[in-house]
Structure formats: C-alpha cells, structure tokens
C-alpha cells in the first residue's frame, strides 16, 4: 500500500524516469518476495537519483524484510534527512534502530510516526518507564491482550516499582517502608528467614502499617509455621476488620491447624466482606465439612461451581463433593462428582494421570 501511494505521488514529481522505473521493478520484485532483486533495483534507483527519499526508504524496508536491520538503518536515515516529513520512513527507521538496540535514538522517530506500541517498548529499553507505561497502555487500548504489549507493560511497571523501591531504600534505609520492601523482595525470592527479619523490623518501627501482619503471616504460611501465621493474620484482622483477604488467610491458617470451628467463623466473615470469592467458598466448604455440617459444605461448594467450572479449584471441589457424598452413602452423586473430577484432571482409573504416561 505504501509503495502504491509512493509511486502515485512520485509520478507527479520531478523524479528521474529511470530511477522511477527501477523503483517500480523493485516494488514488484518485493511483492513477489524476491527481496534480493528488490534490493538491487532500489539501489539502482537511488544511485540514479540520490535525492529520491522514497527510493532510500524502499531500500531500507527491503533490508528490514530481509532481517538485515543494520543495513537498513543508513538508507532510512538518508530518507528522513532528504524528506523529514516522510512518516513511514521514520516508522521504519524507528523499528530498525529499536531492533538493533538503539532505543534512545529510535524514540524521536517513533514519536514522529505516532507508533505508540514500539515507542512504549523503546522507552522501556531506554529506561523512560513512566512514559513507557503511558504509551503501552494507549497501545493496549488499540490492541487489547496483545501478549508482547502486556509483557512490556508488566516489565515497565515492575521496573518502575523497583526504581521507587530502590530510591526508598537508598534514601531511607532504616525506615519501616524500606524494611517492608526488602521483606517483599526476600519473599519473592523464597528467602523466608530474611523476609521474616525485614517484616519484623518494619513492624517494630511502625506497628500500625497496613498489610504488614498479612505479609509476615504469608511468610509463616509459606514455611508451614501455621501457629505463627495465625497470630499475624489475627493481628491483621484486628487492625482491619474489613479486610476480606486477612479474614480468608486467618481462616485458612486455622483450617491447616485443624481448628475447623474458628476457621469457619473467619471464612464466613470473609465471604460476607467479599462475596462469591471461589477460594473462600472452597475453604468454607472444607471447614463446614470438617465440622460435620455437610449441608453448608455442599452449598459452599455448589456456589463455587456456579462461578468456576473448569479450573483446578473446580476439579478440587468436585473431588471434595465426591468424598462427601461417598461418606453420606450417596453413591450415584459421588460417582458423578468423581467423573467430573476425572474429566477435569484427565485421569483414567488404573492409569497414571495425563502427563505421567510415558
């Protein structure tokens, strides 16, 4: 399309007819995927008419198609020098520079071409994170769920977050927030003793910091220290009685400790605070089942299955229902739930689950 417009426009300009002829031949060859022929023709066109910006642009584009990004840069640069308002040339040059790692240099060309997606990526690579987030979000509005854009937006946001944390830790190394941030880092790295140390230090400095008990509780939960996790989650629910996640975490910890009654109280609270959360419903069903309240367990699990039908949690719920029905002597229902479970897990009785048959 670009080439057609170029030719239409050039035909009304004072370009050399010989050069235009080679340009036309090159464009045809390029369409037929004879890139080497196209390159040769574009070179002849630019040799014949050194002021033919469109010729240089076409040459650069052909190099790009041939994945010779380094060779594309010079003709494209020449094209924009000859004709600074030739936006497709800016766009192509921006791409070539970006691919070759010259992100900073690519940015003005991509800006000129209003190419927000590539611009956002170039800004991530150049460390201009705030601008990158803005441009990538704009690009995602046009191309929702594009995996590359989602990746780069995530990366930009992560790096931006890291930048803020690095600044925080450098400026206020002994602050509660710095310790909290360090704790979060260690948690991600699964270095639980270090994470515990940092969260405890943060709590000592600022005991009223929201979420700190929750984070420390998560550290204990991750290392299966359920009694300690319970203490922290309880502290969080005391500080923030409206925090559904804290109520859920406390309920889960209590469940792990076999304290079904208390667990159930917290899980009911979590369900009231944020209704219809599948994880809460699953645990609520477990707690009710442990207490012998099979009607409540069944209700929670069936509620869950009305929300989630094909996830791992749905499979777990079918499995739990099968166990409960089996215990109740409801053989047909138990078999049905087990079949649903097997369907989701892809298990054939008497054979290993899928992925294990070798």
């Amino acid at each position: 399309m670009i080439h057609v417009l170029i030719l239409l426009w050039l035909s009304s300009q004072a370009a050399s007819p010989d050069a235009l002829s080679h340009l036309q031949t090159g464009i045809t060859a390029e369409k037929e995927h004879h890139i080497d022929v196209a390159i040769a023709e574009f070179r002849k066109a630019t040799d014949l008419d050194p002021n033919l910006a469109e010729g240089f642009m076409s040459l650069g584009q052909a190099y790009l198609e041939n994945r010779e990004y380094d060779r594309a840069i010079a003709p494209l640069k020449h094209a924009v020098d000859l004709k600074p308002d030739l936006l497709p040339a800016h766009q192509l040059l921006g791409y070539a520079l970006l691919v070759e790692g010259y992100a900073e240099e690519a940015i003005p060309h991509l800006e000129r071409a209003h190419e927000t997606a590539a611009l956002g990526i170039a800004e991530v690579n150049a460390g201009r994170l705030k601008e990158a987030v803005t441009h990538l979000q704009a690009a995602l509005e046009e191309r929702p769920n594009d995996p590359d854009l989602l990746y780069y937006l995530g990366r930009a946001s992560g790096l931006l977050s890291k930048q803020s944390i690095d600044t925080l830790v450098a400026a206020y190394p002994d602050s509660a927030r710095a310790h909290e941030a360090m704790g979060e880092n260690y948690f991600v790295l699964r270095q639980m003793p270090q994470a515990e140390r940092e969260f405890l230090a943060a709590l000592k400095l600022r005991p009223d910091t929201p979420e700190l008990h929750l984070e420390l509780g998560d550290v204990y939960a991750k290392s299966s220290q359920w009694d300690k996790a319970e203490v922290e989650f309880r502290a969080q629910t005391k500080m923030q009685p409206g925090n559904a996640e804290a109520a859920y975490r406390l309920g889960s910890a209590l469940l792990q400790e076999g304290k079904a009654h208390e667990a159930r109280e917290q899980l009911i609270r979590a369900d009231h605070l944020r209704p219809q959360m599948p994880e809460v419903l699953y645990s609520l069903g477990k707690a009710a089942f442990l207490e012998g309240d099979t009607a409540a367990a069944e209700k929670a699990w069936i509620d869950l299955l009305s929300i989630e039908k094909e996830s791992d949690l749905a499979a777990q719920t079918h499995f739990a229902l099968a166990g409960m029905y089996r215990r109740q002597g409801k053989t047909a229902e138990a078999q049905h739930e087990m079949q649903e479970f097997q369907k989701l897990q892809n298990i054939t009785p008497g054979q290993p689950p899928a992925g294990q048959q070798q």
């Binding site: 079904a260 087990m338 298990i347 070798q358």
Partner: protein, 550 residues
C-alpha cells in the same frame, strides 16, 4: 496350644554401662537415641555430582530373629560404590565397605557382625542396595531374607544353622530394574507366603540426568517413565511364579516406593497399598480369586484432600483410632502434609490429616520410614516418622527447608496426634525406619537408617503401663501368621512385617494395655479360623498357635 513365658528383661537400657551409650536427650522423651555396642555400620550411598537418583534412596533395615534365640537381630542393607560418573554399573559390592550386614544380638545386648559367617557377604557387584523383606516362605520356622536392589534382587534362604543360601535363581525372584520396598504376604490364603516387590521407575545410570538448572540437583520423578510392580506367587516347592500380569498388578504402572498390607474391607483377603511418588497412590483390592483391582481413587485413598497427587514415600496400614479397621498413613514431601486415610468401613476411606493434627505436624517435613506403634503402652498407636529431604542441597534452593531433619514422634491421644520430643536433637538424613522390641522389655524401639552414616537406634525408656506381645504360629495358615487380624482389648493389629519404607519390622504383634493387667485376645487367622483367649496376663511374650482344626 499356646506357650507363655515371663517378660524377658534381657537387659535394661542403662546409660554408660559399657554396653550401651546413651546420647544426651531430655528426660521428657520416651525414646532415647542410643548407640548399641557392636552395631558398626555405615550406609554407603556414595553421593556424586552426577546426582544419580539411587544415591538418595537407600537403605532398608530388618529386625528379625534369624537364629531363633528369642533376641532380635538386625540386618542392614547397604548402597554401593558409585563412580562419578558411572561408566559401567559396577557398585563394587565385593568390597566389605559395601556389604549388607547382619548383626546377631548377644545375650548381653551387644551385637556381633556375622555377615560373612552367615553367607551374606557379597551382594552382587551389579546391585545397588535398597530394601529388605523378611518372611518364612518355606514354613520351616526360620525367617528368610529378600533384598531389593537397583539391579537384581536376592532371596536368601535361612538354613536354620546360622547360615543363609542364595536361592534367587532357583526361586525365580530376581526381578530386575529398580526395586524398592518388598514384603511377604499370603494373598491367596494357601498357607504359603507370596512376595510383592515395588519398583520405582524406568531409570538407569546411562539415562540419568540432573535437574534444577543452576542448583544441579536430583530430578523429580516425573522426569522418568513409570513402571510396574511385581507379584510372585509361592509354588510351595521353593520356586515362585511371576503373576504380575495374571493378577492385574502389572496393569497399573506407577512410581512406587512404599508398601503395606492389610485387609481393609474385612473380606478375609490381604489387600495391598503402594505409595507412589509424584502421582496418585495405589490400593490393590484383593478380589479373592487371585486377581486384584486397583481402586484407590474410588476408595478415597489416592490423592490429597484437595484432589492433588502426592509424593508418596513411606506407608503404614494399621488401625490408629481403635475402631477395628486398618487406616493408612503416607509420608510425603514438605508442603504436602502426610496423608492419613481413615477407614470408614464399606471399602471407603476419608482423608483426615487435618482433624487428627497430622497436617500441622508434617507440613514442613519430608517423611520416609513410618510406623504406628504404641510407644507409651497406653492403648493407642503413636506415630514415628524418619524425616529428611530428598535433595541434599535443598537449603540452596529453598532456605526454609532442610535436608537433615529430626524424626517426628507424635503421641496418639484418642485419635489425635501431638508432637513430642523424639529423643534426639541431632538432625539426620534418615530414610528407613524399622520397629520392634530390641531388648524384649515390652516397649517398642526404632532403628533408623541414615544416608552416609551409622543407623540411629531409639531405645524406649519404658514406664509403668502394661503390655502384651504376641507371636503367631500358623499351622493351616502360613507359619508367620501374616495376614491374621489380632484384637486385644479393643485394639487391632494386622499381622505383617511390612510397612514403613524399605524395611521389615519385628513380626511380633505388640499391644500397650494401659492399666489393664489382663487381656482378651481374638485372632482371625488367614485360614478363616477364629481363636479367642480370655484373661491373658499382661506383660508377657505370648505365642499363639493356630488350631489345627476350626
């Protein structure tokens, strides 16, 4: 009919007596880490940088009275030499460092290494040792030994004169591949012990690999293909027939490690539970006609409470809550929690790790050998688990986990487990755990195998509660009485030496009686014969002989 004898306090565990050295541990523990004189053994697992999986899996222990002198002897399975890397599969088992070892218990409680004299010295250079099973397969009154290997397995017939003969070839039980736990059982109730062998996976040193990227560690089981277990039928003439296909056992391929037997549905036939690593567990229901149906999923004993597959390692199949039905405990990796499947009757199990307290006791641990034994003789079976992570560099990968761990000792209070001091403060790379009354004092002891180290022996300090230990003498049934269900004052034990991981336990059935000074005993023999004994005095070793006629 039955032979009674007074309690044999052959020795009391006396610290610093010269015979026994007691390691320092708080007085509060009922078990005490003890060094037995003469038990000189180091389990040579030979870890290499190649991270060959076999290195992290041995080794078995058997507690048996091989010379019928009334004292438990100890047989230890050794690993072998592993070169780094292995070019040929020669584990140098002719080198005495890599022999399996038989230790005879002397009257003074010390042990003497009788390996060479007993004819057990060379385990075969192509074999890397794993586990052991004990049973009197020819009903001659002397326990025979079956050793599992990576390589070929070995059956040693007990000649009754203190020596053994390798009869593997004649018996036809060499198997092959990577065998792990094994056990003798009489699955068809014909009075002759058959043999079940678990196998881990399709693996050999040439097709080994390491995993974990920068951490370079042992691969998870999913990296290697599944394989079959083996069932050998005892022909009664010193030979066995591989009936794995015919019986249906071979139709379920897995990655088996642990093995335990019990009749879970009370139909008179022994069923088989196999713990599998990284997948669902197997429960082979004995159909009573020589075939088995794998129905763990249908019975509710295949997966965790959340329907997740597990890293099943050790297993025990006994009644923990005194309801008369055998339950199952499977030990696993950290974060999975050990699974307790309560036998609800009717052929169904219910997952009860959380309610029983086992969940919170095990969520950070990695368990191997396991036993349900009444250590304090209060009438409730307690839980002992040998613990250690599979990966010797797990701390590098996840600092919150540990390679060497303390064992778990959890006392059973009316069906709920509570952790107590296990009798040691020294973490170890533990694997197998065998249970029995080493010093015949009426209190259960434990021997644990340790990778690269000496075994840990936990002697029971004893107390004031009463007890009863029963030896079964089958006549119509197999001579060991394996498969009998024995009830004593409301407690039930299923007669077997199999359970735990790689190990063979004291075949005698131990019961704690609490304050009771007499016991009512009921025995249901594999032959179908019921036998009852009333007002039996406590605190004795009692042999019960099966009536010749119903």
């Amino acid at each position: 009919m039955m032979k009674q004898s007074g309690p044999k306090f052959l020795f009391a565990v006396v610290c610093f007596s010269g015979l026994i050295f007691c390691a320092a541990s708080p007085q509060s523990s009922i078990l005490e880490l003890t060094q037995l004189k003469g038990l000189n053994f180091v389990l040579q697992n030979s870890p290499t940088t190649q991270k060959y999986l076999i290195e992290t899996m041995p080794g078995g222990i058997a507690l048996l009275d091989y010379n019928d002198d009334g004292l438990l002897d100890i047989f230890m399975v050794n690993g072998g030499r592993v070169l780094d890397p292995m070019k040929t599969e020669d584990f140098d088992r002719h080198d005495p460092r890599y022999w399996n070892r038989l230790f005879r218990q002397n009257k003074d409680g010390s042990f003497t290494d009788v390996t060479e004299h007993a004819g057990l010295a060379n385990a075969g250079d192509g074999n890397y040792g794993m586990g052991v099973a004990v049973g009197d397969y020819d009903n001659d009154g002397y326990p025979d030994i079956y050793v599992t290997n990576y390589g070929k397995n070995t059956l040693y017939h007990n000649n009754g004169d203190g020596t053994f003969t390798d009869v593997t070839e004649k018996a036809g039980v060499a198997a092959g591949g990577w065998s792990v736990s094994a056990g003798f059982l009489d699955y068809d109730n014909d009075g002759k012990l058959d043999l079940f062998v678990t196998r881990y996976m399709e693996w050999d040193t040439k097709h080994s690999k390491s995993c974990g990227a920068e951490w370079h560690t042992y691969c998870p089981p999913e990296e290697f293909p599944v394989t079959t277990n083996i069932l050998f039928h005892n022909n009664g003439d010193g030979t066995f027939t591989d009936v794995s296909q015919r019986s249906g056992i071979a139709s379920s391929k897995g990655r088996a490690l642990g093995l335990a037997f019990a009749d879970y549905d009370d139909d008179g036939f022994t069923d088989i539970f196999v713990s599998n690593d990284g997948m669902r567990q197997f429960l082979f229901h004995n159909n009573g006609n020589g075939t088995f149906t794998e129905n763990a999923l249908e019975a509710g004993a295949a997966l965790s409470q959340d329907g997740r597959r597990m890293s099943g390692m050790g297993v025990v199949f006994q009644d923990y809550d005194n309801d008369g039905r055998p339950d199952i405990v499977v030990t696993e990796l950290p974060r999975e929690i050990f699974s307790l499947y309560h036998n609800d009757g009717g052929g169904f199990f219910e997952y009860r790790s959380l309610e029983t307290g086992l969940g919170v006791l095990s969520s950070g641990s990695s368990g191997w050998g396991v036993g349900l034994e009444d250590f304090d003789n209060d009438g409730w079976k307690d839980l002992f688990v040998a613990q250690s992570h599979v990966l010797d560099n797990v701390e590098d990968i996840d600092p919150s986990l540990h390679y060497k761990q303390l064992p778990l000792l959890a006392m059973n209070h009316n069906g709920r487990f509570e952790s107590v001091d296990p009798g040691t403060t020294v973490p170890a790379a533990s694997r197998g755990a065998a249970f029995g009354d080493l010093n015949n004092d009426g209190w259960q002891d434990v021997v644990v195998s340790v990778l690269g180290g000496a075994p840990q022996v936990f002697m029971n300090r004893g107390g004031n509660q009463h007890w009863l230990t029963i030896s079964l003498r089958g006549t119509r049934s197999n001579r060991d009485g394996y498969g009998a269900r024995v009830r004593v004052n409301g407690q039930t034990r299923y007669a077997t030496a199999t359970g735990s991981y790689l190990c063979s336990n004291d075949k005698r059935l131990h019961f704690g009686l609490g304050a009771a000074q007499t016991a009512k005993i009921e025995v249901l023999w594999p032959s179908g014969i019921h036998q009852s004994l009333a007002d039996v005095h406590a605190d004795q070793f009692l042999e019960i002989r099966e009536p010749e006629k119903p």
